[in-house]
């Protein structure tokens, strides 16, 4: 369910690190909790985000929720496809439903995040 090569936050975001690039999304648990997602608000390319800073928000039928950045850096790409197809966040949160890519400014921040095993336990405990 939760890819081993991702790292996870307590706020239910994931990050996949490849070189100095981090791809960020929300977890399957997050999309399950939010329900049908109808709108995604993402930052502009070039925006600088701190770890824990707001990357934007996702809106479901139930609520609007902030997305917090798992790590600091500069936004290099955003998933434009979500504008027309926000449902990708529900159908493929760990793949096609990725949100943004950032150039990591402090790669050591990644070590503070949860592994897949830690995150599974964390989600179980929250239930």
């Amino acid at each position: 369910m939760y890819p081993e090569n991702f790292r996870y936050t307590k706020e239910h975001e994931w990050v996949l690190v490849e070189g100095d690039t981090g791809t960020i999304g929300i977890t399957d648990h997050a999309q399950e909790e939010l329900g049908d997602i109808v709108y995604v608000d993402l930052p502009k390319i070039g925006a600088r985000i701190e770890q824990g800073g707001s990357l934007g928000s996702v809106e479901s039928v139930k609520a609007v929720s902030d997305i917090y950045s798992p790590a600091g850096g500069e936004v290099t790409d955003v998933n434009q496809a979500l504008a027309d197809a926000p449902e990708k966040l529900n159908t493929d949160p760990h793949g096609d439903g990725w949100l943004v890519k950032i150039r990591l400014s402090a790669p050591e921040e990644i070590a503070e995040l949860m592994t897949a095993a830690d995150y599974r336990k964390y989600v179980e405990a929250e239930k």
Partner: protein, 494 residues
């Protein structure tokens, strides 16, 4: 099991634009008894319009039927209980309307000279004084248009005071159970927002507050009773912690219906709060508004209140615009005056003891609902509730039935749904606020409907999941409506 509802004829109604046929009209003017004037010659071509494209043309009876039929599609507090939590959908007494229609008040004009507006000014002055007394505060502005506008005004007042002290500060603290407008207000007022997690019992975490409050914190915004309907019993201690560090306590007065006549925010350390006259003080609400969100403050904030301020000038009332430290106007003229008249009528009709009784009844009704529904619905926080009660859908979710499904099914029983999925700290929340308006018979009818739905969720979950059935339209596809909204009517297309 459904007692309140029978199907009856409910007529379809096209848009007025689709009913139009050229030449029909709903008025008749008398014969002209003065010489005709050529508008084109008198005003110039640039100021005269020949016709309005697509303007609907219907007869009088067609116009009347159009709006009357649409009105039968509605559900309102005049039809039945409206238990929308956090919204205080109480009955709007007819005496309010009677008073608001008194000629001198209904036809007052904001440009009327002060000498001819003394009655209207007296209405506002009395309302300010009564709201100050009810809240235990020193001064009140009636200008803000509704709750969120009041919040913004209140936070701007706090900002102005802190700036005057040379220390504007950076952060506003908001509990995780707050109304969404609280962090939005703080952000628009230029502050960073920091969340405080509630304790296990759903209350403000005072020890966390003690750790977090520092020289950067401008204020804590708190709703009391909070969105679980629970009184923040440590509110006075929270005020002390904030004040010791030079920060202020802002109260969202959305839930004042639990406090009026019993407890005064000014007495438990609040520096500023807004009231929702359309909730607590029975003025029209929702689409029938407009609202009014007066802000009450302690003395230190008074110099910053919006201009103009009412002041006594000999035996008369006057408007005072010369207030150097004022944050300026927050609204044209003096606020939603017609709403202010209704709120004053409500307060005077009740009197002090009557207001207190209303509060006691509001709490008693919510506690009654809690006690009778507790065996059927999960109660995530056991703290004693006041004017509203928050259940979760945990038991029904085991059968695949969620809070939104229960709410839709409630429509079949003839009730407006409760508030769904709020507060966010309760997973699958059912937030129920009956208000003092309802008598025991209506409460029992609502409770019986909720019990019946809880049983249906066990025996026939599909029935609940596909509700409603007794309505004009079956369940609408909310997801597609939000993902692919059709926002504009285009004549003749589809």
């Amino acid at each position: 099991m459904i007692h309140n509802v029978r199907t009856h004829i409910s007529q379809n109604e096209a848009l007025l634009f689709e009913r139009s046929s050229p030449g029909k009209r709903a008025y008749q003017l008398p014969e002209l008894d003065v010489p005709p004037v050529d508008a084109l010659a008198a005003l110039g071509a640039g100021n005269v319009r020949a016709g309005i494209d697509g303007f609907p043309e219907v007869s009088e009876v067609e116009a009347i039927r159009h709006f009357t039929r649409l009105s039968t599609w509605n559900y309102a507090i005049d039809h039945g209980m409206y238990p929308l939590g956090s919204c205080t959908m109480k009955y709007n007494p007819r005496v309010n309307e009677l008073v608001a229609r008194i000629e001198g008040l209904a036809w007052a004009h904001p440009y009327q000279p002060e000498a001819l507006a003394q009655g209207s000014m007296e209405v506002m002055a009395r309302l300010e004084a009564m709201l100050a007394e009810i809240t235990g505060m020193d001064a009140v502005t009636l200008q803000p248009s509704a709750g969120a506008h009041g919040e913004l005004t209140g936070i701007l007042l706090i900002r102005a005071l802190l700036e005057k002290r040379g220390d504007p500060r950076k952060k506003i603290l908001v509990p995780d159970s707050a109304h969404g407008t609280n962090p939005a207000t703080a952000a628009i007022a230029g502050y960073a927002v920091e969340n405080i997690k509630s304790t296990e019992t759903g209350l403000l975490d005072v020890s966390a507050l003690e750790r977090i409050v520092d020289q950067d914190v401008a204020a804590l915004m708190v709703t009391n009773p909070n969105t679980l309907g629970v009184f923040e019993e440590n509110i006075a201690r929270a005020a002390e912690i904030l004040h010791a560090k030079g920060a202020m306590l802002y109260m969202d007065g959305a839930n004042m219906n639990a406090l009026v006549g019993i407890a005064r925010p000014g007495d438990f350390g609040v520096d500023a709060l807004h009231l929702n006259l359309h909730k607590t003080f029975s003025t029209p609400h929702g689409g029938g508004g407009p609202g009014a969100g007066p802000v009450a403050v302690k003395k230190a904030l008074e110099p910053f209140l919006p201009v103009p301020r009412l002041k006594r000038s000999g035996k008369r009332w006057a408007w005072d615009y010369k207030r150097k430290r004022s944050i300026g106007r927050v609204r044209a003229f003096y606020g939603n005056f017609g709403v202010l008249v209704r709120a004053l009528a409500y307060i005077l009709a009740h009197g002090g003891p009557g207001l207190r009784n209303a509060t006691v009844d509001a709490v008693m009704n919510a506690v009654y609902i809690r006690k009778r529904l507790e065996p059927y619905y999960d109660l995530p926080y056991g703290s004693p509730n006041m004017h509203e009660v928050v259940f979760s859908d945990a038991r029904q979710a085991a059968h695949g039935v969620r809070t939104g499904d229960i709410a839709k099914r409630l429509i079949d029983y003839g009730f407006h749904p409760y508030t769904v999925s709020f507060p966010l700290i309760v997973h699958g929340a059912l937030m129920i606020e009956p208000t003092e308006t309802e008598g025991k018979a209506e409460l029992d009818s609502f409770i019986d409907a909720m019990i019946s739905i809880a049983k249906e969720a066990e025996t026939d979950p599909q029935l609940v999941k596909n509700a409603p059935y007794n309505t004009r339209t079956s369940r609408v596809d909310e997801v597609s409506a939000a993902r692919k909204p059709v926002l504009r009517w285009k004549g003749g297309e589809g």
